[in-house]
Subunit: 337 residues, 2 copies
């Protein structure tokens, strides 16, 4: 068995050598890893940034450990129209749970929802949405909620494209995630969406493991049930990971400042400000929804994914702005809607 | 530049091959990676566990992604006597900040502390400790606090050994961390200590990056100062990562259940219960402080690191118990106190 001890040392050296070879691959050659991006400004900016931070001896070189990249989810990694997909999950759950809640037949916002009148149901604003979210996201253990999400995401279909929601992801962003990881980046999701709503599928779909997902959460309570510990999800907000909350979430979960951040709406503005305020090379990118044909076109006045202040600041500060229509060859893995 | 594209593919294959070789190294041979452990029960149990969960085809095999191991810090990775080191940090900070706080000369618990009478100061119990913690851990930005901790940890000395606190770490546990990582485990700290108190040095000392540190925290507030974003630390508790809080912290930060957990006190009991309640092979270990000569000896009645209920449960459930005196050849990298 002693033969193993030497190989382990050899392995370490070989590994170091190989990592060196891999990382000395030029950014130009690696741009082949972004086939769904047109050879326009954004792709060039990404490749230039990655090239300089990964080049040993460059004044902009960043050690592998500090190559932290954070991505918004809704509207940045997957679509968010006609409404955030997590809300569609909640609506589906209301229907599924209705038989256990006869009182919902006459109680708003549930009564309208069950009649198919989403507009009236949501007219109650944030309190109505909070009621819907709590009725569907709390009252079960974390393991039970995990299974509920897995079952839904495996079968539910998008109302417009009739595709699985996990197909409604942006092919260029999947390539970008992989390209960054190939270059030693650690990729995180930092989303206003529910942390435990994203974790069950983020690893398979994005290659992002649960411990690299940051999101909004409800409070949980530790309980012993017949000698077995469970975490019960309570109908009480723990944390909202949006706007300034994204910076707080980044500090809480990651504990160091990203060198690159990717978003699409005003909810991402503070994350991009925080990222670019660090010393050394920094990268900020906004995905702008400009393709009404293959995806959706919306910005300053949209109630979902509004991009107004962050667009002004991106333009003023020279952040990279992706024009989906012009900069992306493909939108979804299956093409466009 | 095209020459790089092929090498990258080759690199991927070589990497896979090498990982395969590395991971097929027998657990027995790898036990050489634990030289500070005597060849007694705990070492044998660790090696047997790691051997079975890493063996392809074994009924206990666990994929690399799910090899999550969580470690308590105080009393498990580094010492905690005569009192938690973070409290000693706070006391040092009180002295350093006293000139800016003339009111502390007459205000408890500060007045007693400044006279060197720690016992009277702490007689105020938890409210007194909370005052000390908030006066020293809040009111500055996250970047400023990071620097304060770095400066302190680089120079402050332990009152008994006169060693740097980062030398007061357990050599066998450093080896264990590295051994687990060699076997594809991702290692996390899950401590009642302050998350931002541990992060500035955990990577260098333990090889655990900031994003794999879970701990207690204060609330923070995002502010713009002259156009630059900062996170201000507020004098308000955000989260206490102790007892049942450790399970909540694990779910919040890691999002999946560890397969192995390591602690030393009743504060770790729920983490060990949670870990061992999962399906498949599980491992729970308690470090028992039994060496009054080389370290300290304390358990059921200690105010610091009390080990009472968790010891009963460890014995009842057959968890691995390290008897420091008998199971560890070396305690600290410099030997014993």
């Amino acid at each position: 068995m002693m033969r193993i001890v030497l190989p382990l040392k050899v392995v370490t050296r070989l590994l170091a050598l190989i990592v060196l070879i891999a990382f000395s691959a030029s950014a130009e050659a690696q741009s082949d890893l972004l086939p769904s991006w047109n050879d326009t400004g954004p792709k060039q900016a990404i490749v230039a940034f990655v090239g300089k931070v990964t080049k040993e001896g460059s004044p902009d070189f960043v050690p592998v450990d500090e190559r932290i990249a954070t991505f918004d989810n809704d509207g940045t990694l997957w679509a968010e129209q006609p409404v955030y997909f997590q809300l569609l999950f909640a609506l589906d759950r209301i229907k599924a749970l209705a038989p256990q809640h006869p009182e919902w037949q006459t109680k708003e916002p549930f009564a309208s929802l069950l009649k198919g009148d989403v507009k009236t149901a949501l007219a109650g604003g944030e309190p109505a949405i909070a009621q819907i979210v709590m009725a569907t996201h709390a009252g079960m253990t974390t393991d039970e909620f995990d299974q509920i999400v897995r079952d839904w995401i495996a079968s539910a279909k998008h109302p417009v494209t009739k595709r699985l929601y996990t197909e409604m992801v942006y092919q260029p962003m999947l390539e970008l995630l992989a390209y960054l990881r190939t270059n030693g980046f650690k990729t995180f999701i930092v989303s206003g969406g529910g942390i435990d709503f994203m974790r069950p599928w983020a690893e398979q779909v994005y290659g992002i493991p649960p411990e690299q997902v940051v999101g909004s959460s409800v409070k949980t309570e530790f309980q012993m049930r017949d000698g077995t510990p469970v975490l019960l999800r309570l109908p009480e907000i723990n944390f909202i990971d949006d706007k300034a909350g994204k910076v707080i979430g980044i500090q809480q979960h990651i504990g160091r400042r990203p060198i690159a951040a990717f978003g699409n709406s005003d909810g991402d503005l503070q994350m991009l400000q925080w990222t670019t305020a660090g010393t050394g090379a920094r990268f900020a990118l906004i995905v702008r929804h400009t393709d009404a044909e293959r995806e959706w076109a919306y910005d300053r006045t949209s109630s979902v994914g509004r991009l107004d202040k962050a667009l002004d600041e991106a333009q003023a500060k020279g952040w990279t702005i992706v024009d989906m229509k012009n900069d992306w060859k493909t939108i979804f893995p299956f093409g466009g809607k």
